[in-house]
Assembly symmetry: C2
Homo-oligomer: 471 residues x 2
């Protein structure tokens, strides 16, 4: 991270905190240079970054100003509940999304892919290549059902950063976070059971419930603090809920981080009603703030949280390396892992373990966190510039997805058809609901390095939306 980028971030966070309002003058180049002990050039570079992301405008001879017209877009409204547990639809729309992902010409704004081009990822490829070349080729044979020990040791060590004390014996390596979630659900539930989920919720989880013959109960969710505890308590009173699934950190799609006191309260609630929690922490290491947020698991004192995660968002999804720390459900989880896919591939486990052990993981995270935060600001700026007045936008605290809410009567399904013709891929809001809500919302990926083409795509989205909006 260079000095000028650090400084640019410092200033932009001040603007966001409201220290400098719309139209106000920002500190002079000289003042900042003195205050931060950096050169004038560094400050000028920082201002140029802010300028290009629309956060500062230069006025000749009088310095930099916060844009007068700049209003932060409003946050999305509270997520809506389902009145009763529902059977799940929308699989065809998820398939549509995946089909579009295969279009190499498309600007991919709908998918969940991280940026895998960072140079800090190089040592991982080197490790993969070296392990392949070893003549005793450990990558060729079956390994421990729980996963390679050196990797589980590293995962346990990283757990400390989220407040968890884990041992390698409590961890099971999986084929991505999706397998971890699938194993958790199957270890806990039988067809017909009810699972409480946030609304909106990652479509991989919703489809999993569908495939397992379960019913989803959608709990209203606040775009800043996460799932409503009050609504959750009411639901627990009213329905025989078999498990609760939550993604409390850098939520996909809303981007919130549940505050610690609410996490603690959530655990107490689960204890009171004796319900297990399946926690998805896949984006937790990509929180923009440091130190990273705690997991629900870190507040869990009776083994009821099944913590699921993977390196798909932090390193690379193609590795398919995830894990689950299932607490008291370890025996059932091991059985499900054995029958579901047997052991996990050996070579990528060894490579990831080596990458972390050699100290490459944290610097890579640092870089990606900063990068994604910058992208978020720029993407938010573009969305508020190009989409019609009244568009609401989430303010993700980590990860790389933005939730965009259009007027209630808007239908992103039609929008999607228009955009597909333009080779622009977005994710329809209603795949994030068990009952097909959020047709007026869409999710945008901002992982990739922002460029002119992406800006143009957002511009096109704005034009298409305007065209479709009821007059």
């Amino acid at each position: 991270m260079t000095r000028y980028l650090n400084l640019a971030e410092y200033i932009s966070s001040r603007i966001e905190q409201g220290l400098y309002g719309p139209g106000e003058r920002l500190p002079s180049v000289r003042a900042l240079s003195l205050e931060h002990g950096v050169s004038l050039t560094t400050v000028q570079q920082a201002y140029r970054v802010l300028e290009s992301s629309g956060l500062a405008i230069p006025k000749p001879k009088s310095g930099y100003f916060v844009p007068a017209g700049r209003r932060l877009p409003e946050l999305p409204k509270m997520g809506r509940p389902s009145l009763r547990p529902v059977d799940i639809s929308q699989w065809d729309l998820v398939q549509d999304l995946m089909r579009q992902e295969q279009n190499a010409n498309a600007i991919q704004l709908g998918c969940g892919m991280p940026d895998t081009t960072a140079p800090t990822l190089k040592p991982l490829l080197t490790a993969l290549a070296r392990i392949s070349r070893r003549s005793d080729s450990p990558s060729l044979q079956y390994n421990h059902l729980q996963g390679v020990l050196t990797l589980r040791e590293q995962i346990a060590r990283l757990g400390v950063d989220s407040g968890c004390r884990l041992t390698p014996a409590e961890i099971v390596v999986t084929s991505g976070c999706q397998e971890a979630l699938s194993i958790a659900i199957r270890a806990l539930c039988e067809p017909g059971d009810i699972v409480a989920i946030a609304s909106p919720c990652f479509h991989g989880i919703i489809q999993l419930l569908k495939a397992a013959g379960l019913k989803a109960l959608e709990i209203p969710t606040d775009p800043v603090t996460g799932i409503s505890l009050e609504a959750m308590e009411m639901a627990l009173e009213q329905w025989p809920i078999k498990a609760i699934q939550l993604t409390p950190n850098c939520n996909n799609p809303l981007g919130y981080i549940m505050p610690d006191d609410r996490k603690r309260a959530m655990i107490r609630l689960a204890q009171r009603y004796d319900v297990p929690i399946i926690e998805d922490d896949i984006y937790g290491d990509l929180a923009f703030r440091y130190p990273r947020p705690r997991t629900l698991k870190s507040f869990d004192d009776d083994g009821r949280v099944l913590l699921c995660s993977s390196f798909s968002k932090t390193l690379a999804p193609g590795l398919r390396i995830g894990w689950i720390a299932p607490g008291r459900y370890l025996p059932q989880v091991l059985h499900m892992k054995y029958v579901g896919s047997g052991t996990t591939a050996t070579q990528p486990q060894l490579a990831v373990a080596e990458f972390i052990a050699k100290g490459h993981y944290l610097p890579h995270l640092r870089r990606m966190r900063k990068q994604y935060q910058r992208h978020r600001d720029l993407m938010t700026e573009w969305v508020s510039r190009y989409l019609p007045e009244g568009t609401r936008v989430s303010k993700p605290q980590g990860g790389f997805t933005l939730w965009v809410e259009l007027p209630d009567e808007f239908d992103t399904y039609t929008l999607n058809r228009l955009l597909e013709a333009e080779d622009i891929q977005i994710a329809n809001g209603n795949i994030f609901s068990a009952a097909g809500k959020y047709r007026n919302c869409l999710r945008l990926n901002f992982a990739g390095v922002p460029n002119r083409k992406i800006e143009q795509a957002i511009n096109k989205i704005g034009l298409a939306v305007a065209q479709l909006l009821p007059a």
Copy 2:
């Protein structure tokens, strides 16, 4: 394959067909040299191979003879049925087996690992390393849910050898054959359903039924021709069977190849009762005879066979690359794949595709088939030499597992405890039954290059068995 090994195999097959009985004189070195147009040295080398596997003994000045005491051990008895569908136990014993697999000092005769040390496998490691080094690193990103296209093309091409016409669009790549089986079962069945299986049957399938809340109906199975069609028909009459699972080629554990007319009849039966068949062909490419046997799928004209397989036995299990060709059940299978683990890791798919496309697969298979056939002969020889009279032994037609049947009252569980102390790992027979039958049987792996240590291990097994046999 060298000339002398070819010749040795030719002679041994003649002995097995009974052309040369116990104590009889084998053709002279000169006669064979003339007949086969090879040098005298080649014939002598061939005879030395036969000598060392106990199939020929030299008598000074009079040539080679079939050992007088040589009696081929009897085949195992017909597999026993369950009288009604049963709930499944034995998971603790499967876990025991896996625990022992982690003992690096043990002689591993219980596991299902292939030999991965053959030089013909080297190009696979080279491909893995090269793909990792590519700067655009396709291995890092998510890929098509059905798997990498180039791999599906190669799998479709190989299908021709087993009589199948498949297109890449009909194939879904999975994390090993276990995931393929798991997806197939979950796509077809709901808790409480009955699945018909062979008896004995691979424990991975039995545990899968257990985890999915299904009941197993064990159908008696002949150690030479496979599952009894008569018993199967009776079962289909009597019970609402939801699916049939079969491993007709180089069966694990019995080693039979179901004859083609029985395969055809099996398909007709499934059509008559309108039941889908989950076919496991994981060892099919390792049949000792050439061309390899046909799959049930190749007789299937209405899409009711879900063909499952992997490269775990033919190449390397640590890759975790398998596939399923699910016929008319493709939509359900894709949904299960998506929710179960998402896409399959990219890099090993690319490497396997390259390995096959460059023509390395078939020569590797040729080598392994010959190797495993030689090992089978030697292992059979050792078992009949060292285990007590009356021990029955399967005669596998492919693959690398031997099924050994001891007197009915014998309990391999106690045997296993004795052997564990000696660092010898075997597979208990009763994990191959849903109802805990076959306590008097064990399965031995003969993939590894036979050596003095393995022979000693078989000797020790023999001694332990003798010690435990009721007087």
